[in-house]
Symmetry: C2
Subunit: 685 residues, 2 copies
Amino acid sequence: MKMKSFLNIVLFVASFNLWAEYGHNLWLRARNQGRVHVVCAKSSTTISIAKMELEQGWQGKSGASVLLKLKSDKKIKGDGFVISSLEIQANTELGILYGAYEMLRREQTNNIVSTEIINPSYERRILNHWDNLDGSIERGYSGKSIFWKSGKDALVVTQKDIAIWKEYARANASIGINGAVLDNVNASPLILTSGYLKRVKAIADVLRPFGVRTYLSVKFSSPVLIGGIKTSDPLNLEVIQWWNKKVKEIYSLVPDFGGFLIKANSEGQPGPQDFGRTHADGANMLADALKPYDGIVMWRAFVYDSSDHDRAKQAYNEFMPLDGQFRDNVIIQVKNGPIDFQPREPFSPLFEAMKKNSVMPELQITQEYLGHSVHLVYLAPMWEEFLKSDTYQNGSGSTVASCTDGSIFPQKYTAIAGVANIGLDTNWCGHQFAQANWYAFGRLAWNNQLTSEQIANEWIKLTFSSESEQHLNTTDWTENFLIPVKQMMMESHEAAVNYMMPLGLHHIFAAEHHYGPGPWWAPKYMRKDWTPPYYHQADTIGVGFNRTTIGSDAVSEYHEPLKSQFNDVKSCPERYLLWFHHVPWDYKLKSGNSLWDEICLHYDKGLQQVRGFQKTWDKVQQYVDADRFVEVQVKLRNQSQNAQLWKDGCLLYFQQFSRKPIPYNLERPIHNLQDVMELDFSKTE
Amino acid sequence: MKMKSFLNIVLFVASFNLWAEYGHNLWLRARNQGRVHVVCAKSSTTISIAKMELEQGWQGKSGASVLLKLKSDKKIKGDGFVISSLEIQANTELGILYGAYEMLRREQTNNIVSTEIINPSYERRILNHWDNLDGSIERGYSGKSIFWKSGKDALVVTQKDIAIWKEYARANASIGINGAVLDNVNASPLILTSGYLKRVKAIADVLRPFGVRTYLSVKFSSPVLIGGIKTSDPLNLEVIQWWNKKVKEIYSLVPDFGGFLIKANSEGQPGPQDFGRTHADGANMLADALKPYDGIVMWRAFVYDSSDHDRAKQAYNEFMPLDGQFRDNVIIQVKNGPIDFQPREPFSPLFEAMKKNSVMPELQITQEYLGHSVHLVYLAPMWEEFLKSDTYQNGSGSTVASCTDGSIFPQKYTAIAGVANIGLDTNWCGHQFAQANWYAFGRLAWNNQLTSEQIANEWIKLTFSSESEQHLNTTDWTENFLIPVKQMMMESHEAAVNYMMPLGLHHIFAAEHHYGPGPWWAPKYMRKDWTPPYYHQADTIGVGFNRTTIGSDAVSEYHEPLKSQFNDVKSCPERYLLWFHHVPWDYKLKSGNSLWDEICLHYDKGLQQVRGFQKTWDKVQQYVDADRFVEVQVKLRNQSQNAQLWKDGCLLYFQQFSRKPIPYNLERPIHNLQDVMELDFSKTE
């Protein structure tokens, strides 16, 4: 088994060459530049991987000797390690593996290695795959699922499957990701049937040596749907027994199984409320089943219904009364913003408010609301903004990061989840630069104090320099490739906010594709809270959702001084202005411009920024292989067209209410509103 | 009859109000601002129109008295007149009518009236309608024909027909147009059948009081097709007799019939060469038939076939040997450029070369190659450039204008034709600003020394000021409307050249629609000389058609010093560079830029210019009625999109040959070449 693993690794490393030009190698492109001797007293599959990686990717002094030291040390937490230039010490084998990847990263990014203790911010760093069992991926823009497929051979495990799972596990391990939820939160009950569980075992076996634990999304009504029981009531003994038995079965196949992720009583999914029970009743029943095996329940707080007058308030309203009622192996999984992965949202107040139960952030790596895999949008600046947001939970400086990573109160489990952007596309993520978001999620999950710029720096060096080593660290490459490309990445999220929904606007997409502009989109059959006019509230007076104390009062869910700051239009940060306030078109902003003019300026700026990205990219052509260059160039052109559609569609739509001219120094719309309204955006990607 | 005419005029003037906001009024919008007493010793329908127009549109001193004096004066030529502030003297009734329109124009444009003799440059100022008998219009972009219709009532003359013909005649008279060829040069033989001739008579009766004479395009094979004769050989006696009889029939219906326009042995049309005869044989036969009635033949020189290696040379090659062999009532009608109404062409060398027979210019008012009725392109600057081109026929200063208007040699007939852009669209021309091209053609036909700027000045004042008289001549209106709108018009043709085919590029349209970019367009089934690669000749060395003495030698058709000037890449005007030369991509132009960079700069500049027009137009919103404002705004948006497609498509296509980057300071393409190539431009209008 060990030798076979070795061979497989050699095989898949060698096969990279076939894909080299299309980005299949991700940030793992370095080849050894010299020989290295790796010494470790212990031998195991994981240790072998660490050794092999160091030998394959060694960039340090040729002939050097590296010591891998498994030795317990209280300064080292969990999967952490102590690293110096030629030594890695850790409490666990995985710590050694993570240290090996860190050592290579430092060599490859020319980061001087001094002795340092490196501990992870979160114990569980998890990808959520919204992969359906038929192989499709909800909000996936990079091909079919790497885990599931349809057809008569749906459950057959092939060598190709194993190869891709291994590559996937290796990529995760290299950035510290240690968990994967294999199936969609809109779960199929079939995942818990024996055929699928066998496939889960096969996946888990491949992922295990790389430290990636397997989790499953489960459907709350599984006892009825596949168990033959008449109810799924969490307090029903038969139901409890069914789950206990099912959990036992899973652990017999996957001894290190991580636990369940559940979307319950949300967007039509079944849940404990169907039986008059609470979220706590439901979560605790599952938690009790998992407890003997050290498994956890990640229970999603993404709940809302159309009866409430402000969707932004509902997760808080439903979950706050339950704080303290969940078992200690339940973590409430909360999306970063109160609505739904919008281009920009304030943080969800639950991160501050829940103090007695663990809370974990859910980020979205796949760009559901950020241009799918067409737009170049580096998400780390948005996540950094979120993680560093001060909640005031425990006085000033209580960032979301410290509220969730155990710094403020000792959570039994700390965790962070990212909805994956991974599929069978050759380049994994649809867009070469979307790989940076997978990378950045892993790096931030490991260390939530990293800046998005540090991460961009690393990623660019790892992703674009190895094929042209002569460039790396030359002034030429740094000035003419690294710096401009990094600047483009760093600016890209704000650009998307500008051309999509600036100044606190949110959820103004046309239709369920969540891709193109649609502030007008409001089919009669549609729930009001699924249509943009619900969110932007434009009228002839102004635009924006009044969530102040005289509006929906969502501001009151925030800790002071945020509540007061958000509540007053003068002190509310302008990036959240229309999130919290219905503001008159004439209202003067800090720039001295009226709201209307400022909206126009933002949309136009977003478009100009994308055009700037096109220039940036075209200028670096000589530093990039032709295939990746053209792929990104083509996508940037589409993004530029899209940005124009966003600008034109939104400005012409809102102009019907503002009745003011677009400032005459700005480039005029080139589309007519009716034409944008009639576009089928699902075809413009 | 006279009273009925009066009533009709009153009726159609009154009915203008219904259309007012949509541009149906053209440049004829002024209402009388005071009473005027018009005196004329003679009375006739034409004189009555002159009186009525002065009374309806009087803007001078209220209560003034105007004298219309029919009195022969040798200083006055043809339809000319002497005008002073309150008197018009002319040799003919039409001279009085034209004087009346000039008097109103001067009042309405605030042009101080001093005594002046105003004679027309050309005796015959003719619109060519490419109207098919089924009501469609070849290269028409403004609705169906005003003359013809299909269906069972195709030949029924309705009151609505008469009303529109009258409005049409009045508009022509107001700018001096005195002839109309009613049917397409790709003629149907049916036009000469008795049913259609009756309709021609009905039209002529309406047009006559306004001085607009009727002409017809005829098919050379008519004797076979409708005459029942076995041949159409022009030297065949039966054929000659058939035409004589047909001409007699026409004059019995239309006593002032103007003559025939013929497209023969051109693009598949039949002609004398089918019988081994020359163009002269064919034209003279028809000229002889028309001679007794003072009718003329306009014989088109637009001939070429695919066997020759340079289409640009062929009209010259075929017609020069025949110079002097045509009857004196034949005029050779020559398109302004040697190819075909391209955005920019050098003048056709025939204007200089033919000295023994009359030559008349054919301009195209309808924008076949200039963005149809979507793009705002004011054509007068192009025509001015053409008319003022020095041919050196009779030494320096022998402009095309003076070669064709009788200034250099005494042609028996002088004439100029414009292919009309008129249809049943409410605004007549499809685009509000396309009306300016109809207007400008008439004004230049009357006075080929007018500048395009003078004409724009007049047209803007007449077209946009009458509904808001309070604006006219105020500094505000002049500075904020007249000047910027005029600047936009004056720049518009060069902008179109920039974004379509700068630096002498020509005929690089996709497909026969002649609308969108298609330098790549070359279907296998297509004649080579109908495909763009024939014209641009791009390869890895350079681009352009070598027409120098070592190329096709088309330069030798030009008089010295033009031949030498065009022949040398250093002295060839850059606007014709790629027309006459195949130029290396690296070749340094006068700007210091390489040819490739300069091509890029031109395409980009064209796009930026259109964006500038959008700004200009949006800024004048307050000075224009809402309907016309929005109509033009919408078209400018489309034009802006089109300009982008032209830029992107052409640059990405030619880049495949130049293999050089688009200068990095320029905005990047936002379309991919393949996408532009797959666009159906007939649907993007």
